[in-house]
């Protein structure tokens, strides 16, 4: 086997040198979706590039979500479906079997390319797991749009929110509403995932810069898991009975923390802020338990993502990143961001204009 291996290695290298002559230079620098200068806000698309061009013929769009057992990805799929209906194209949504099914998701993406979709929308499980599929799609001339939240380094087009901003907004809430400062803790998503790293960094950096009265007493992974976050929060509260707040990288974890806070009988003293804006989080906010969530509007994100893809397919040269909106939602403004999709879209458009 060793001999065969060496043989194929030699063969590979000689083939590679041949290919190197033919291959075009890969000048695209690794994408950092938060800081990429070549970007546009979603609200500016119509103004800068005109209304969405009519799709030619019957376009088939393939979408690969992370996993459908998280409401966020189902909502994103709903956005795809809405936009597809409006634009007169068809969209098929597939997903991995869980948020850790990396090879399965890759196989699904490859199979969708074989099936012959005209456009591919992908939300990879990790930064790297869909790389071969993206390369294959580009070779086949199929435009690929990377939609939230893992970032493929070689992605030509990305649609999603500024991850760091999630943490920044949560931190500013504490600074404004808890002027006395105090102890706070962060419950992070899966270690090493871009969204988790950026959200946490945004929170900590903002507190360090703008909120001198605050100390972050713990910043530990909750792995996007509600049960684990409950346990983690219980331990943190035990160790720091005077803690004033938690920031969680997603809503599932935030709701786990809320349960822990309730169990400790400290719902009045400890404020919990989540991220994503899933329906359970909204319910909890209305019930006065979860203080706030930083909603990134998955349905609207899905609509913008498909719109971006259709514009690319029509030959428009868009900036590399299309930024989608987010807002800190509390009991006071919850009505503004829930209910009728068209109303929410209009309100977000107003927010963008006010910026």
């Amino acid at each position: 086997m060793k001999v065969k291996f060496v043989k194929s290695a030699i063969m590979g290298v000689s083939l590679a040198s041949l290919l190197a002559l033919a291959a075009h230079a890969d000048a695209l620098k690794p994408l950092n979706s938060d800081t990429e200068p070549d970007r546009i806000d979603w609200s500016q698309l119509d103004a800068k590039f005109g209304p969405l061009p009519k799709a030619e013929g019957k376009l088939k769009v393939g979408a690969v979500a992370k996993a459908l057992n998280n409401e966020y990805w189902r909502s994103l799929g709903q956005g795809y479906a809405n936009e597809a209906k409006a634009a007169g194209v068809t969209v098929d949504l597939q997903a991995g079997q869980g948020e850790a099914d990396q090879l399965g998701q890759l196989a699904i993406a490859e199979n969708m390319i074989t099936k012959g979709y005209n456009i591919l929308l992908v939300s990879p499980q990790t930064d790297a797991n869909l790389t071969p599929a993206v390369e294959a799609a580009e070779k086949a001339g199929v435009p690929v749009v990377n939609v939230n939240d893992a970032v493929i380094p070689g992605a030509k087009n990305y649609v999603g929110n500024v991850q760091k901003d999630n943490g920044v907004r949560a931190a500013r809430w504490f600074i404004k509403n808890r002027p006395a400062g105090g102890k706070v803790a962060v419950v992070e998503g899966m270690a090493g995932v871009y969204a988790a790293v950026q959200r946490t960094a945004g929170f900590k950096e903002t507190l360090a810069k703008e909120g001198p009265g605050f100390t972050v007493v713990a910043s530990v992974p909750g792995n996007w898991d509600r049960q684990l976050s409950y346990d983690v929060a219980t331990n943190i509260i035990q160790k720091n009975p005077d803690i004033v707040g938690f920031y969680a990288n997603n809503d599932g974890m935030a709701l786990g923390i809320v349960e822990a806070v309730k169990a400790a009988g400290k719902l009045k003293d400890i404020a919990v802020i989540g991220t994503d804006g899933i329906s359970d989080a909204y319910k909890s906010i209305k019930d006065g338990e979860l203080i706030a969530t930083v909603d990134s509007f998955p349905v609207l994100t899905g609509e913008v993502a498909l719109e971006t893809a259709l514009r690319l397919k029509a030959g428009q040269k868009l900036p590399r990143v299309v930024a989608t909106p987010q807002a800190l939602v509390t009991k006071d403004n919850v009505d503004r961001y829930t209910g009728d999709e068209a109303k929410v879209r209009k309100n977000l458009m107003e927010d963008a204009a006010a910026k």
């Binding site: 086997m1 065969k4 291996f5 060496v6 194929s8 290695a9 063969m11 590979g12 290298v13 083939l15 590679a16 290919l19 190197a20 690794p30 996993a67 459908l68 098929d92 949504l93 597939q94 997903a95 991995g96 079997q97 850790a100 099914d101 990396q102 090879l103 399965g104 890759l106 196989a107 699904i108 490859e110 199979n111 969708m112 074989t114 099936k115 012959g116 990790t126 930064d127 790297a128 797991n129 790389t131 071969p132 380094p153 899966m190 270690a191 090493g192």
Partner: protein
């Protein structure tokens, strides 16, 4: 426990390989028929399923699992189980990738990754063979330990920027077959010969079939077990290196749930978790069955939850057919 007469032990050890070949050819044929039936159904329902590109795709997608499952089959035949293959793969991947990124020669980096895999596997084997711990528990423990090592080593971040020279090694094709598929084909031949024609293969069957009898007839139990786990670790590392080449990055979370996919492929292919039974060809067919299922269901646009359901049904169905045709033993 009564000690079986030594003549019976010698018989088990010497007869196991030939008996196995005779019986499992029929069993492998059964898996093959199952695969053909599944493919026929998909071919009727989707017009792209039988295209050359799609079939090559299925083989390519099954190659990682096949590679891991070959090692898993060896361990299962020896009466054990290896739950730590995914984390072992992650350790090998992050080490090989970090060497590559810091400019070490490709071959050296690959060998280092493979060596790490074999060492991790051997570590499992030593704990099982010499400390007498149960394989399930040992590899459950090392599943956490090796995953932790990979996370600690990388600080949780993926290692990006693997040189293209290394990537092309596995991205090229030999005739129409991608290199990973060819590597697996070679492994099937080597693995089958090893199991059927070498003393080590004989020992693996003997240890898994009846350890007490094997011990009495002079089989080196401990070394056999260590060899089986080392091979499993080595092959998990090889799968990891192929994957790093395909993805262009090594992530410490790589290899999640590989153990379950590999065990499923082995079981569909006829390996018995009680030990003493199994075949490499069967395992590969099992892996391809799983790959073909995933491929076909995606082409038919079947949603993820139903794909999971279908995979589970196939495993149970394979086991039921196995039991009915083989009878209770």
């Amino acid at each position: 426990m009564t000690t079986p007469p030594s003549s019976a032990g010698a018989q088990t050890a010497s007869e196991a390989p030939s008996r196995f070949r005779l019986r499992l050819t029929v069993r492998d044929l059964g898996t093959l028929i199952g695969l053909v039936v599944i493919c026929a159904v998909f071919a009727m329902l989707s017009d792209v399923f039988l295209t050359e590109r799609n079939l090559v795709n299925i083989l390519q997608q099954s190659s990682i699992n096949s590679c891991v499952a070959i090692g898993m089959t060896m361990v299962i035949i020896s009466g054990g189980i290896d739950l730590s293959v995914g984390p072992v793969a992650a350790c090998a991947a992050v080490l090989a990738a970090s060497l590559l990124v810091s400019g070490f020669p490709v071959l050296l980096s690959i060998c280092a990754g493979l060596a790490v895999g074999a060492i991790c596997g051997a570590f499992n084997g030593v704990l099982i063979a010499y400390a007498g711990l149960q394989p399930f528990i040992v590899t459950l423990g090392t599943l956490s330990i090796f995953r932790a090592l990979a996370l600690i080593y990388t600080g949780g971040n993926p290692i990006l920027g693997v040189p293209t020279e290394f990537r092309r090694l596995f991205a090229s094709e030999i005739w129409i077959f991608p290199v990973p598929v060819v590597v697996v084909a070679v492994l099937v031949v080597v693995g089958s010969v090893l199991l059927a024609r070498t003393p080590l293969g004989e020992y693996i069957f003997a240890v898994g079939g009846n350890e007490e009898a094997a011990r009495i007839s002079g089989v080196p139990i401990a070394r056999t077990k260590i060899a089986a786990y080392a091979m499993s670790g080595f092959l998990a590392a090889l799968a990891a290196i192929i994957l790093v080449a395909r993805l262009g990055a090594a992530e410490p979370t790589l290899g999640n749930l590989w153990e379950l996919e590999a065990i499923a492929a082995s079981a569909i292919g006829g390996a018995s978790l009680m030990g003493g039974k199994g075949s490499i060809v069967g395992t590969i067919l099992g892996a391809i069955v799983l790959g073909a299922m995933r491929n076909g269901l995606t082409l038919l646009n079947v949603q993820a939850f139903y794909q999971l359901l279908a995979t589970g049904v196939i495993i149970i169905l394979a086991m039921l057919i196995d039991r009915l045709t083989r009878g209770r033993e």
